[in-house]
Amino acid sequence: MDAEEHAPGTTAAPLDVARSDASLRRFLHGLPGVDQVGAEARAAALGTRSIKTTAKATALDLAISMVDLTTLEGADTQGKVRALGAKAVHPDPSDASCPRVAAVCVYPDMVATAKAAVGASGVKVAAVATAFPSGRAALDIKLADTRDAVEAGADEIDMVIDRGAFLSGRYLEVYEEIVAVREACGPAHLKVILETGELATYDNVRRASWLAMLAGGHFIKTSTGKVQPAATLPVTMIMLEAVRDFREATGVQIGVKPAGGIRSAKDAIKNLVVVNEVAGPDWLDPDWFRFGASTLLNDLLMQRIKLTTGRYTGPDYVTVD
């Protein structure tokens, strides 16, 4: 999209608003508000779409290809990460037509193991960094954490924002931290986790989304998965509105990743409906939309097997991680 096609009314030169804390605040607080009741009603209405037969088959494969297969436990082992990598490459070993997932998502110390497990399959390796999940560390430690993951071979970095700074209104601090992490990422793509469960209002979700996009994040991501509520449908919708509006204003397309709480194929399909009708079909692609999930993949696979064979299988017919 070139500059002439910009949406009317969104002409604020976005890359210029971070001159000072004051100008950043003016910009973020000048964004149109979000009416909570209306936003939730709209998301609920989209959730009633009935996606059946051929549409369901398309949606299931698309959803599988968008999964960031995740394990983020203190008890993670190399064996578990290798198993995850194998599953990411061949989610359904009995069916070669099943697409691979988008990425595996691990802690930085598991990057090398994950990288070896996915090999040259095209599955990306994402690492959470910047003192995930709380984000409570000094900036140089966060940057070292990031560089460490990138050096180990991570293709993507999932960082967390400093919610304390954001909620207390120190927007420039948050902005500069994201800019610094983006620099530390080098060639790796940066996903910015807003931890929407701690942001309390949809207005804040919209502001944090814009802040992350202005600072150069490639993706905005709802949650760490360690805080509830995580990726609710209205939150994902607000973020999709933000990336839609950002592209109209700047020509730059940003991805969205809901993470945490999406466990069923049905929920995943609701998310795809929202992507389709709010941001538009340009985002129906693993480059622009991801699901951060662990248990979701198995339900997608069981639904896929049901659709292709006509029979329901049980959890014993898909692999445990």
Partner: protein, 476 residues
């Protein structure tokens, strides 16, 4: 990776749940009886398929129905303690909820509205209305309007929300101890006749609810019947005026719920995505066949361009087509007559110099359809800004100051509803207090609740339906 298109496959609701008979009689004195007049056909507006032959009640039939209602009033219903009447109303409400899918499918087939709306809006509100007024039946002495019923109520309802309008009329009338003779619209009689079956199933005493089908002549015979104590009408302002004239000079009590040309006012500090959603809901809900539809968008100059951009983008995602498809957003126009009126006014809009924009969508080959449309460069003088189109057509006007918004919003013979979109609470309250409209929604639109009174100013009608206020129309 090539871009994936997520085309929604057809997701039709099964119509096998509802059993449509080849012909229907009148519901009088608790029984289905043949009429003395001729019959008429009711048609599925999405397919033009004839659904059933329905008896057309003549004066004689209407007289029998009023007599049945009078008998039931004198002998049973007016004497029954409110706590007992409540039991019947609760029972009806429960049966409506139990048979909701059947009612929703039939409403969609006969009216043309999307099954999503019939299922998620119409039928739940219908059940809620009966539940709500069932609760009033034994508490009337706390209503502030007395507890004496009026007698026999003649009720004439429109085709846009056949069951919901039935509920708004029948539930309060029965709760207060009146008996009713109801005439549904000639293009949408089927759910009222299914409701008659529900009355039988609930073992409602014979004659408490009577349903006479037919067109204008049947309605005239009903409201003109000398033994009717109360007339309640929802429909066009033109017919409402005629009814007011015919009732003038009699002892009959009258409530009218008529047309509208509501303004949906979007200020520059509005939550824009939700405002756009509300504007879309305001005018395209039920194909715009809504008396309180937000058919005039008044948008503040400074955000007009952006709102229009967002509105058109949103309108392009509306799914128009088979009403029984669960993913349909906009269904069929109820009748060829209505379609002709929408077309005529839209053409007048173009002829008068307004700019027409139509959402890109494929309309089915059979049935009656009109694509979601908006007009910009509309002035207060244009017919499309003054006359009720009653279809999926939005007229967009701009304003500069709140005072101008109020002046334009009020500059209409109607006054049923209005909407205000702003993040500023003080502005909402100030503007709402100046709008001459019976219902003012703030940061939402087309919200209906049985506890909330609904009704108009000026040519939009007199009296209120819903809430405690709705009892006044049925008590003395």
């Amino acid at each position: 990776m090539a871009r994936t298109e997520l085309e929604y496959a057809p997701a039709p609701e099964s119509r096998s749940i509802v059993d449509i008979k080849a012909s229907y009689g009148l519901f009088v004195g608790g029984e289905f009886v043949d009429g003395h007049g001729s019959s008429f056909k009711t048609v599925n507006p999405a397919t033009e398929e004839v659904l059933a032959e329905v008896a057309e009640a003549d004066e004689h039939d209407v007289d029998l129905a009023v007599k049945a209602a009078r008998r039931a009033y004198d002998r049973v219903w007016s004497r029954m303690p409110g706590s007992e009447r409540a039991k019947y109303l609760f029972r009806i409400a429960r049966i409506i909820a139990e048979r909701s899918r059947e009612l929703a499918v039939l409403e969609s087939i006969d009216n043309g509205k999307p099954i999503r709306e019939a299922r998620d809006v119409d039928v739940p509100i219908v059940a809620a209305h009966f539940f709500y007024y069932a609760g009033w039946a034994d508490k009337l002495r706390h209503s502030g309007y007395g507890e004496t019923p009026l007698g026999v109520a003649a009720q004439v309802i429109p085709w846009n929300f056949p069951l919901m309008m039935l509920a708004w009329k029948v539930a309060p009338a029965l709760a207060c101890g009146n008996t009713v003779v109801l005439k549904p619209a000639e293009t949408t009689p089927l759910t009222a006749l299914l409701f008659a079956e529900i009355c039988q199933q609930a073992e409602l005493p014979p004659g408490v609810v009577n349903i006479v089908t037919g067109a204008g002549a049947t309605g005239q015979a009903l409201v003109g019947h000398p033994d009717v104590d109360k007339v309640a009408f929802t429909g066009s302002t033109e017919v409402g005026k005629a009814i007011a004239r015919s009732v003038a000079g009699t002892d009959k009590r009258l409530t009218l719920e008529l047309g509208g040309k509501a303004a949906n006012i979007v200020f520059d500090d509005a939550p824009l995505d939700q405002a756009v959603e509300g504007v879309v809901n305001g005018i395209f809900f039920n194909q715009g066949h809504v008396c309180c539809a937000g058919s005039r968008l008044l948008v503040q100059e400074s955000v007009a361009e952006e709102v229009l951009h967002r509105l058109k983008r949103r309108m392009a995602t509306l799914r128009v087509g088979d009403p029984l498809d669960k993913n349909t957003d906009v269904g069929a126009i109820n009748s060829p007559e209505q379609l002709a009126r929408i077309r005529e006014l839209s053409e007048a809009g173009e002829a008068e110099g307004a700019e027409r924009w139509t959402a890109p969508c494929q309309l089915p080959d059979t049935g009656w359809w009109f694509a979601p449309t908006l007009f910009t460069d509309v002035t207060q003088a244009h017919r499309i800004a003054r006359e009720e189109i009653f279809g999926p057509v939005l007229s967009v006007l701009t304003f500069r100051t709140p005072a101008e918004a109020v002046a334009k919003a009020n500059n209409t013979p109607y006054g049923l509803s209005a909407g205000i979109w702003s993040d500023k609470g003080s502005r909402i309250l100030q503007v709402a207090s100046q709008l001459r409209a019976g219902v003012v929604w703030a940061n939402t639109f087309n919200q209906f609740d049985p506890t909330s009174p609904f009704g108009g100013y000026k040519e939009s009608g007199q009296g209120r339906e819903g809430g405690r206020h709705g009892l006044e129309a049925y008590l003395r």
